[in-house]
Amino acid sequence: MTSDETPAIVLAGREWPIPRLAPKQNRIVVPALLELIPRILGARAQADAAGETGQISQLARTLDTAFYDRLGDVVFTALTRAEPGLTRTAFDDMAIDTLELLVAVRVIALQAGLLKQGAR
């Protein structure tokens, strides 16, 4: 959490605040999350069923170029809420770990208001 209780995500080794998103961001973030989250959960279930553990086995079931690009759309758009000057080119050039992107999904989903406060 940052000092004003705004949650943050870590990308390329730096903390980025993610305030509550507005329709300007959510029109991209919400439909993409509704697409991505079931795939992430499905991959986890498949890995569990196969008796495999660890994030790599889950990633292998999820990640393809389209998924990665969509994930990038979600995270980049969420970042622009607090950093409207950030360009996609600059974002695409950041040294971001794939796991950092995946971990960011939870925070972004909460800040998009996909879950009610009490349900968090």
Binding site: R20, L21, P23, K24, N26, R27, V30, P31, G113, L114
Partner: protein, 202 residues
Amino acid sequence: MTNDPTITIAGREWRIPPLAPRQNRVVLPGLMRLGKEPAERYETLLDIVFAALTRARPSITREEFEDWPIATWELVESIPVIAKQTGLLRSSFDKLRTRETLMVRQAHHEEKTLALSPSKGEAPDWDALIAQYVNFLPGTTPDYWEDALTAPRLDAMQKEWRKHPPLSLLVAGALGYRPRPRNADPLEELLRLFPNGKLRLN
């Protein structure tokens, strides 16, 4: 103090009075469109909620609305309230069907309908409805009805007109007036001009 229900948007409560055609033109088709692709669904949610908010707060701009921290669940939870305030959908929002009471029967010809006779699942023809009101109530303007024709008022007027039809309707009925068909079949037009089938030459 009003009894209007409220919705919560961006953490703040907003009053939603019964909607008028200015909002219903956006809200009703939007409600009928919900349930398509997620991206389209989100846009539709925004359109519906923004239109509904402008009923009590006409000065809100779409640009500022798009920048509010609106939780997705706030948009979703506001839909049943907005649907109820259209006055044209069942309050339980279980069936997107227009109310039977909207069927306006002509006083003398039960089989014919006036301007408003939406088939189930279709939004009313607001332009035709407003034209009808302006026609029946001289001195009022289309712009007035655009913001004044709420569903309860519409319901009350239609009930009253069923009991006491407007003068123009009574006169039209007494004179046997039939509107000229548009783009009609030439034969139909001839029959309208010469109803007894006889062509008289002077």
